[in-house]
């Protein structure tokens, strides 16, 4: 399988603090990559560089046929194109509270991509049906549960027809009983063949959907491989320790 995403030598510092060191990995088209690691390990920053929410200081990120070298100055048009390659789902959904669910979903296609409004509405309704929220289209985000809000966030990202979907701890801010609905939607996307990178603490979920797991600690990829290896028989002591703490908290 060809790689949809390749990351080569990404470095990032916030002031003196080096948060990412020589991050490199590949994500084949149609595959799911789970990024795990302790909090403060910079796993979220890895994800954010893939969307240039945090711009890498150096390194090359290629999504599809667009390759961006962040060591050089990146012009605004390229940056916008780069951002639209991927759809981002945030931990705290970040829906636009002053817009209805439907407006949230069509905002990108209509305002940014300048597609026809009617067409965008049709597609948005399909996407909302897909995430199980067809009847919520006219509601405002505050009228939805956390899990429903997160699913709207997924629909909003999908509406831009990105090549790659990025999830930043999509279930961490949810009540435990709402987690399942969101994970199910993500699993469906995986089955449909979406290429995805998911930062998550849901180890069991990672085991089920991921084709590849990256364990990140201290801003470096400590270990990567199929879940059966990284999550079951990790080679690094640090990975073992982390998994042990998560799977056996008491």
């Amino acid at each position: 399988m060809t790689d949809l995403l390749t990351v080569r030598g990404v470095e990032k510092a916030f002031g003196e603090l080096r948060v990412l060191r020589d991050i490199s990995f590949d994500v084949p088209a149609g595959s799911v990559t789970a990024v795990i690691g302790p909090s403060g390990s910079s796993k979220t920053t890895v994800l954010r560089t893939l969307n240039a929410l945090d711009q890498a200081d150096s390194g090359v990120i290629t999504i599809g046929d667009l390759s961006v070298d962040f060591a050089a100055e990146v012009d605004r048009a390229t940056l916008t194109r780069f951002r639209l390659q991927s759809g981002m789902v945030f931990q705290s959904h970040n829906l636009f509270p002053h817009m209805t669910v439907l407006q949230n979903v069509i905002e990108g296609p209509v305002i940014v991509q300048k597609r026809s409004r009617d067409e965008a509405i049709d597609e948005a309704r399909q996407l909302l049906a897909q995430v199980g929220l067809a009847e919520k289209a006219e509601q405002y985000p505050f009228q939805l549960s956390g899990g429903q809000q997160q699913r709207v966030g997924i629909a909003r990202a999908l509406a831009l027809k990105p090549k790659l979907m990025l999830f930043d701890e999509p279930t961490s801010a949810l009540d435990p009983e709402l987690v399942g609905d969101v994970l199910r939607v993500i699993k469906d996307l995986a089955n449909e063949g979406w290429t995805m990178v998911i930062v998550t603490h849901e180890i069991r979920f990672a085991q089920q959907v991921a084709d590849q797991v990256l364990f990140i600690d201290g801003g470096v990829v400590l270990e990567s491989g199929p879940p059966a290896q990284v999550l079951v028989e990790p080679t690094q002591a640090r990975t073992r320790q982390f998994l042990d703490r998560i799977l056996n908290p008491i």
Binding site: L84, F96, E107, G108, V112, Q113, F142
Partner: protein
């Protein structure tokens, strides 16, 4: 009160209303709208990471808030002619009031913009929106909710502050009352009417504020 007083009031009700409609209200409305536009740009400059821009904005706000409105009016109308810049009373008043509203409202707008969570900027960024579009579609509509109550204060103050324009020969509401009262010495009656006129305008504006606020609250959990 003597019947002459009633007669005086009666004769001046219409001229004072006329002054209100042709001077006080337009002066308020134009200055407020222009002032808000100034405020938006000054607020954005103040937030900007471009240092000279934010310093300039700070200086502007500092000067406007640190000097009396009456002095600002006098500078525009009486002092500028010394530099061969002669401006008619009404436009001079519009300039002074707009600049004044701009300085005060800039801080309101800035605070309102900063009250919007960073995640909203990021969400807009990830769907490919640029800075102006994000402001227009995402940030300002939400900031409006926070800004309406303090901006209503600014507007209501402005209505009453326009009476200061009487000192630079704008024949607005207070000026007409003054001119009518002067020969009769019946200040109580005419300034009383003027006060009622101002009060009624402010009552109408306050009820408009209530309506606008509830409209902007429609997407917020209660």
């Amino acid at each position: 009160m003597a019947s002459g007083t009633w007669d005086l009031i009666w004769r001046n009700l219409w001229p004072m209303l006329e002054a209100t409609v042709t001077r006080t209200l337009p002066l308020t409305a134009i200055s407020f709208v222009v002032g808000l536009v100034i405020a938006l740009f000054v607020a954005l400059a103040r937030i900007s990471k471009i240092r000279p821009l934010s310093l300039l904005a700070r200086a502007y706000i500092s000067v406007i808030r640190g000097t009396p409105l009456l002095v600002q009016l006098f500078i525009v109308f009486y002092a500028l002619p010394q530099l061969n810049i002669v401006i008619d009373p009404f436009p001079a008043a519009v300039i002074a009031f707009s600049l004044n509203v701009g300085g005060y409202a800039a801080e309101v707008v800035r605070a309102a913009i900063l009250s919007i969570p960073k995640g909203q900027w990021e969400a807009a960024q990830t769907i490919g929106m640029g800075y102006p579009t994000t402001l227009q579609r995402v940030i300002l509509p939400q900031a409006a909710r926070t800004a309406v109550p303090p901006l209503s204060n600014t507007l209501i103050s402005l209505v009453k502050d326009t009476s200061l324009a009487s000192t630079i020969l704008v024949t607005e509401l207070l000026r007409v009352a003054q001119l009518a009262a002067a020969p009769t010495f019946d200040f109580f009656a005419l300034y009383g009417v003027a006060a009622i006129y101002y009060w009624v305008i402010c009552l109408v504006l306050s009820s408009g504020q209530v309506r606008l606020e509830s409209r902007l609250e429609r997407y917020v959990a209660r």
